[in-house]
Symmetry: D2
Subunit: 432 residues, 4 copies
């Protein structure tokens, strides 16, 4: 019988973490994963994209968050240790999946994926299964271990209990990001009694459930989530940064397709412009690389690319008004036309952004994107769906809320040296 | 009589700040300065250089800190308002200097300045006085206003009270960074009762003094400073990152001087390699640009540059041992020789780093780098130097402490495929 | 023209407060009020009655809370200073009312008032208007000042804006107690961004309103309130302590009325047993006095009084089950009868306690206990009732929730040395 | 073989604690001890005596603190579990000693013990060994268990490692009270990284030692202790309350000895006046009982007793000046004489109080009150005394600091209706 490749570290490694105080690593496997270059790369990808333009504290990276999800998962497993339904053999699998669940994120993923039609979940899969240091480390556990980790992250793993720890409506991922993003932004939402929730989590056959005595802590968690979405994640200024960002990607791609001669050639993006970026190409990207191009493109010939990059780098963002395109179908073509008359390409300078959120949902079989509900374990041992016990959760359950905003360069529209008349018309129509 | 160019904002602007809860801007001048591209550039320069390699939370930028120093200064001035010695006309000057005191910092300043022999204080001066948006905004106040701001930051301004708010042994700068760096790293040092200190600060003829009743809060501040230096700022792992960083700059410069043909030409650094970087060149730099080169240099021909960049990007740092070069004068040439034998260039792979700190000092006239002591205002109205009242401060006052460490690539020295004998000798000598 | 009796303190007085960091007193009037013996007496009356039996940290007194309400009010007035609608002449009146709003509370008010049919609001009025140190201090301002303070507290004062600062659905009182009680109990509910709320409060003609931009902070406050009610204030164990407490008062009164000869005569309570307690009698009471009697009554002849006091002092509380008397009308007389058979007086040992709460309500004209709704100031300057803007508040608005519990001495019912059969029946009926 | 009397609780009991977040009880023994009436009595004895007169938040009781010491001890033992030197059989013994170490404290122990010449450590011993519920619970473990618990608390227990957990210069007791008292007073001192200290504590043969990597956390702890002593525990206003308190006890005793006829007879104190208070007498005392007498003595005939009680209950404290009796030996009899002339009994109205503290000490064999030093475990495994490694600790080590203050009723001395001349002389002499 052979000695397993990884064991316990001789001396536990400790990271000081502002959110969980300390992150403890005892397993050689986890230590090896953290040391891979693909994981270290997460230090160069911010957790919250352009949010730092609104909340200057939000400069933390996905490296931070990934360690946090690992730590919470570890604490959950400490509670599960020795309980029924929990299979201790899956400990390392669960921890690895927790650590790696976001490893496929790239620079400003949200906009990047939209413009280049890729998907960070697919990159995560490739990093785990492809020719990477991460894969090498995982394969040392056993040849089928990488696939198992990928399955857990993709929620196709056979043991649903394991996947529900990493992704469900109350999972280690969300519990970390709510607290972490609240910490770094400094907002007073995002706090809930995680210690309490961890203590009342119980492994069940195919999911994590919560002892009923912890219901109020869960309510608090759901309200935190609700507030964080509307106060932080969907903040209209952040979305303005995001709008400009995706328009930069779009413009660069369009110019490339038109055969435009870049002063500074964006080699890093070529394969993505062509829609055939490889894993190696992708791993070479990060936010430093991206910002490098944005910086130098401030000196490009193309007026639109140049302007958008100046706006992004110096935070000269678009302004916004409430604007529901469904309700103002007539105004829309009119606005586009006026923008063209004002010498503004509406494809880049007149942008509707819609955000919507569903703070909690019970099970709606058959519907697209089914969401597993949170279950309480009642004193009699039976499970009961959360919103049937909690008035507060019931009140917001299943209620999708959408916010539509129209973004545009107000500074340009207020500059009366040219197109004075048409700009006035636009401002009147937008009521700004 | 003409209306002054800047007045009060119609509606106060508020930034959410994790350290001071909120940062409030009421002056149009301050708002305009924050909006300049030179100030926004600080978003791309981290506050603590390579500290994020040790404390993953330390990803905050100088933008953060600069706003914090401004906010503390504003709160100090609120306390000073209407008191003797305080000249209200200098309010905007003090606030501007507080906001801009670090505006000349560049990417990884510490190493950058060492290798390229520049000085962020000189860049700050140029940004304030040169052809910049910052200068334009300041000049709108009055033609001599930029010079006054520069003078305050350089401590040559006539009113010493104003300069002491921004830089003395207990100033807005230190009070912000201790708390801020503690917050983002998550360490439990760095906390002191700033609210109390602010309330007991009093303007005196040529300095800020502290009411004696606040002495213990000041003691606590000085102990915080002491702990932050040794626990965070001089952390040996951070210094390992810093060592590699400066060696990368050094290597790139050396290669350039040797006429080496870079695969990816570092245009951004050329003028600095030549020792004649202009303000424009400097403002074009930031940490994204720098990391871009580090990333692509991982594929350079030159073995040393390539290796150092791989180490930096993937956090394969040098290890260290205690090593006081003054005490081991004989070992030093021996080690250098052995390194050469092991095919390691000692200029890049055998590095002594010494850090030293003086947590508080009383006045030592005539000595280099005189430091203004902290004065207490005694109940009888007389001033008394802090260390004469406080046992704790007296105990650490004027006591410089130095820490010497030797950095080297242990991984290479442990790879026994080549130079086995000599590597063994080195390891024995270093006792690793 | 005469100098006003009270001015500004030569040196501001500062209290260290764990919740608001510091409490600042600048007015001689406020300082004089704090020094009165009626106000100092609040140091001997706990803020949360028997809650300390559940949350051991909840040992703080009404003295604490009263200072806190004063401090929040002061901060509100700092925001109001110089704004339309706010009459600066009423500053001292508002601060005095804030400080004194709870001065009439006695030992364990809730139970005391129920049994002795008194009302702390009436005592507050008497303390302010009667022959007390508080009245003397207030009268020094002007002869009609005490009446004005009493009017504000009783909400009959002509300026409704002033009364709404002290008592409305979002007032200084609630903002203090939610945070303070959360701090001392240690629960993670009760936090909201008060600094933000204070900054968006605006004086209006007859109420305080909130700028719409602060809506989410108010939502958070209302959710905090909801959680604190159900997690802390209505905690079933606290209510068990309260049940025993009121039964002690009831028993002592009944014994007195029956002419029972107390070993230790409760002189302090005689006038209240007779229903004619004077203000002097009332001010002589506090929780130390009350606990003194509870202690010595542990040695009384009367079995019930003795047992209840032993239970209270040594925390041998009653257990509880869910029990809605409206739904179990038949069980009720049966249980009473069985208790009598088991030699337990049901008047003392079988107690239903019902708690109910309305977390927020909009205006329902004509209904008993009208509650003034919270109004938002919309960007267009119009007022809009909170629940019409906030989904979350709308969801819980006007929804009264009631919890019924039945309390009884389970230890006695489980002691099978006597009345074995009947006790078994009771336990079966109660399902314990 | 018999089943041990106590096992594990079926369901863990949890207390919400503001300082340690949660206090967990898994052992039936601990649960039983908490439920005893002697332990519950600690709810009626404040942790910090008269400190609440200075810091209004300091209303917490010894019940709070005792649970906290238990919890920290439990966490220490979790770290020790399975390590060399640690004998798991002594777990329950250590936990019991931690919980009970202060059980002998009575009302305002400091003054009570001084006047009545008793000692809370002796009462602790009697509660553990005498006829009490505590003793009954402990005896159920084994007949010699109570004696072992008493031995640990008295530091005579054979296993020095166990005693050092509960009492040494860095023990569970101090770690709890520093944090707890800081929390309730609200001061910003008292914080240190306990989680870190707990993780670096190691059981050694006859003491707890600290891994050298945790030295800075220990420095921080020692500085916290230093600040708490001088900022909180020795606060001159608190000591004024304490002075009056002990003078009340002294006066009551003196009156009793003189055969004075009390209006309200202090039965509870009779046996202590006679110097023969029994354990039962002692357990009947608490702060409610004490305050009851102080309240009613406000109406006593004796002018001194009455005045002191009015002062205590209404916080009309003595004022103070710096006064070192050793340096002003001539002034002392003069002052006493002047006080007598002013009709003030100097035994009660002219009081010197001296406080002194030794923040940390190394081992001074042979000296009275030897204190075990804190030892670091160096990387080579050897032990080294803390002050030899730490500059900061070395600086304050062994330095006793003493503060002398003279207390007197300034209000009376300023009342010029009588003894005008002599009062003027006194004020001049005291420079007030």
């Amino acid at each position: 019988m052979t000695k397993p490749y990884y064991g316990q570290l001789e001396e536990e490694k400790v990271f000081k973490d502002p959110v969980h105080r300390y992150i403890h690593v005892r397993d050689e496997l986890i230590w090896a994963l953290i040391g891979t270059k693909e994981f270290q790369r997460l230090r160069r990808v911010r957790q919250l994209g352009t949010t730092y333009m609104t909340f200057h504290g939000a400069e933390h990276t996905r490296f931070n968050h990934s360690l946090g999800v690992y730590e919470i998962t570890k604490r959950i497993l400490d509670v599960f240790h020795g309980r029924p339904h929990w299979n201790e053999h899956e400990r390392l699998l669960t921890l690895s999946a927790a650590l790696l669940h976001d490893v496929g994120h790239g620079p400003f993923s949200h906009s990047f994926e939209k413009v280049f039609d890729t998907d960070h979940e697919e990159w995560t899969r490739q990093i785990i299964l492809g020719d990477t240091e991460v894969n090498e480390v995982l394969t040392n556990v056993s040849p089928d271990f990488p696939q198992a980790v990928a399955d857990v992250i993709e929620k196709t793993y056979s043991n649903k209990l394991v996947t529900s720890i990493i992704s469900s409506q109350i999972d280690a991922d969300r519990m970390d990001y709510l607290q972490r993003d609240a910490y770094y932004t400094g907002v007073s939402y995002g706090h809930f009694d995680m210690e309490r929730i961890l203590r009342v989590m119980r492994p069940m056959e195919d999911q994590v459930a919560i002892k009923q005595s912890g219901m109020h802590a869960v309510e608090d968690y759901i309200m935190s989530r609700y507030q964080m979405y509307w106060q932080v994640y969907f903040h209209p200024v952040t979305r303005s940064g995001e709008v400009i960002l995706s328009k930069i990607f779009m413009r660069a791609k369009e110019l490339y397709e038109q055969g435009y001669e870049f002063k500074h050639k964006p080699h890093h993006f070529y394969s993505f412009f062509d829609g055939k970026g490889s894993l190696d190409d992708y791993l070479r990207l990060d936010e430093a690389i991206t910002l490098y191009y944005f910086q130098i493109w401030q000196e490009e010939e193309d007026r639109i690319l140049r302007d958008l990059c100046v706006r992004f780098c110096n935070r000269k963002l678009f302004k916004y008004v409430e604007f529901n395109p469904n309700l103002r179908m007539n105004d829309w073509p009119l606005l586009q036309d006026l923008f063209r008359q004002a010498d503004l390409n509406p494809d880049y300078y007149l942008v509707v952004d819609s955000s919507s959120d569903l703070p909690y949902d019970f099970y709606r079989p058959g519907e697209e994107e089914e969401r597993l509900p949170i279950h309480l374990i009642m004193p009699n041992g039976k499970l009961r769906e959360l919103s049937r016990e909690s008035d507060v959760v019931e009140a917001i359950s299943g209620k999708k809320r959408t916010d539509h905003k129209l973004y545009f360069p107000l500074d340009y529209l207020e500059d009366e040296r040219e197109h004075k008349e048409v700009k006035k018309k636009i401002r009147d129509l937008l009521n700004v």
